[in-house]
């Protein structure tokens, strides 16, 4: 099947800084894809190159099979981008902005769809307000709406929930999930890893302009973490020798033990009881994307040293 986005051997330099190095990435049609990484990893640069806002020094990018440089009109018709910066045109109202944006994509009289996105993004009350009069969250909604005026098959959202309240986040994700279910490919960058974990099927992690992990969410969490674990605070703070082989760490009075399955908890409890060790605190730990992220970034740092 035709990939929604195909990035081949893309390099980008700003002077002596290598912002992106040999990026290869294929995002399939219909995916909900997360592009993650710390600040300055190159996420926005990569998105800018896909959107044609930046020009790569080498390599090629296609959106729905169209090269973003040589076939830019088709590539851009297939792509909707929500930029990270909260930008707006202070001369116009929300509705004017959306109708003008539709026009740029060659769509005349887009009132029905514009009204629908206004409603879906809860902007109805503000539809005829000037952009200047809108709060940050409202401006963010308009940015999302602007990216969707031409119903693009591929949507890229660059940190759409940065500085946005809980209610809007919910509204926004419900809407984006619906779009994904309707067949739109969605690419997302965010610092809220929980969001990415709940929403996305596949992840690419970027660090210092390189992709350091690219896998399905499930595989990544499975491979990159030590599985489930239990954290205990004991009195006395001394782990019975029978449990030593399960120990992951023992730090600051907290003992972390690896567990393959929940039946093992019973074994741990019995052993502790028989050695007269009392449990003061107990937490079950399930690995999540944040662990993967922290592990990967830490390993990356070690490699760099």
């Amino acid at each position: 099947m035709l990939p929604a986005i195909e990035v081949k051997q893309v390099c980008k330099r700003y002077g002596s800084l290598r912002a992106l190095t040999d990026i290869d990435l294929e995002i399939h049609t219909g995916e909900f894809f997360a592009l993650l990484g710390p600040n300055g990893a190159g996420k926005t640069t990569l998105i800018s190159i896909i959107a044609g806002l930046s020009l790569a020094n080498s390599g090629s990018v296609k959106v729905m099979g169209h090269n973003v440089i040589t076939q830019y009109p088709q590539a851009r018709l297939n792509l909707g981008v929500v930029p990270q910066e909260l930008v707006y045109d202070p001369f116009f109202t929300v509705r004017e902005v959306l109708l003008i944006q539709s026009g740029y994509y060659g769509i005349k009289g887009n009132t029905r769809w514009v009204d629908e996105i206004i409603e879906r993004l809860d902007l109805t009350d503000k539809a005829d307000a000037n952009m200047r009069a809108l709060s940050g969250g409202m401006k963010r909604r308009v940015l999302v709406a602007q990216a969707l005026v031409h119903k693009p098959p591929v949507i890229i959202l660059d940190e759409p929930t940065a500085g946005v309240d809980v209610e809007l986040r919910q509204t926004l994700w419900d809407f984006i999930k619906q779009l994904n279910q309707d067949g739109h490919t969605v690419v997302l960058t965010t610092h809220y890893l929980e969001e990415a974990e709940t929403l996305c099927n596949r992840v690419a992690m970027l660090k210092d302009g390189k992709i350091i992990a690219l896998d399905s969410m499930q595989n990544l969490i499975g491979k990159m973490t030590s599985g489930n674990s239990v954290r205990l605070r004991l009195s006395p703070d001394c782990l019975p020798s029978a449990l030593h082989e399960l120990q992951i760490s023992h730090d600051g009075g907290i003992c972390e033990l690896r567990i393959e399955n929940y039946a093992q908890i019973e074994f741990i409890l019995t052993t502790l009881r028989s050695e007269n060790v009392q449990i003061l605190e107990m937490h079950l730990q399930q690995p999540d994307l944040e662990d993967v992220f922290v592990n990967l970034m830490r390993n990356g740092r070690k490699q760099a040293k």
Binding site: S48, A51, G52, L53, S54, L55, Y72, P73, Q74, R76, L77, L79, V81, P83, E85, V87, Y88, D89, P90, F91, F92, E96, I100, Q101, S102, G103, Y104, Y105, G106, I107, K108, Q146
Partner: protein, 251 residues
């Protein structure tokens, strides 16, 4: 075509919504020039036989207003969009660079013509101004505002900050305008300055425009037309090249 028309509409709406500042204000300042020169110089200067100085001055001032506002329109639109970041909405769209170029230039022409027409109509209330060859006047006013619209586009793309744009305006556009014969004829200048004026493309715009009013000019209107048209082609090519390469727009 819809994309181009939309951008044109947006550019027209942009200045129309703040018409007090973009149309009325420059009209008032141009009319103030006229009032002052009329009061001070009317009795002292005669440039063409049988043409009073104020009457001679009016086409020059109209053209000056056209030039300044055409430049201001495209340059300020681009730099405001660049600095506020909303230029991204144009850059993300499938609009071709030709469409972007044409939309900005036509909006600049429209604002230049509106201000120029406004000044002209007000002066008609007080003075009897001949308009012998309106076709020539219209041709030069359109070409002149197109050139300045394209220059504004270039300056707006090139400038990273408002003060760089102001420098472009104050050190290039203003001197070329003031030294182009808005306030005098070439023949009243010393020979050296006459030669220097021939190097100023703005001189041909104003001289050609004035020809449309009085049927007389410092040099042949055909030569002026050729030079102004060549200037427009050269400056347009540069502006289109900048848009195509993404210079300072696509990093």
């Amino acid at each position: 075509m819809t994309g181009f028309l939309t951008l044109l509409y947006k550019e027209l709406l942009r200045f129309w919504k703040v018409g007090f500042q973009t149309i009325m204000a420059p009209m008032v300042s141009t009319l103030l020039y006229l009032l002052i020169f009329f009061h001070v110089l009317e009795a002292h200067v005669e440039v063409y036989p049988d043409v009073a100085y104020t009457i001679f001055l009016i086409p020059g001032l109209v053209m000056m207003a056209v030039i300044q506002n055409a430049f201001a329109n495209s340059s300020s639109s681009i730099i405001q969009s660049k600095i506020s970041g909303n230029i991204v909405f144009i850059l993300l769209s499938p609009l071709s660079y030709h469409a972007i170029f044409l939309a900005y230039i036509l909006a600049a022409i429209a604002r230049g013509l509106l201000v120029g027409l406004g000044v002209y109509l007000v002066t008609l209330l007080f003075f009897d101004i001949p308009l012998q060859l309106p076709g020539w006047a219209l041709l030069f006013v359109i070409l002149g505002s197109a050139i300045l619209g394209a220059l504004g586009l270039i300056a707006g793309i090139w400038a990273d900050k408002f003060d760089q744009l102001a420098a472009f305006q104050n050190f290039i556009i203003m001197p070329l305008t003031f030294l182009s014969g808005v306030f005098y004829t070439l023949h009243s200048l010393p020979t050296g300055w006459q030669y220097a004026s021939h190097l100023n493309p703005f001189f041909y715009m104003i001289d050609g425009f004035r020809y449309g009013f009085f049927g007389v000019s410092d040099i042949s209107p055909y030569i002026s037309l050729a030079i102004v048209a060549l200037c427009l082609i050269a400056i347009s090519m540069l502006a289109i090249r900048m848009l195509k390469s993404g210079y300072k727009l696509r990093h």
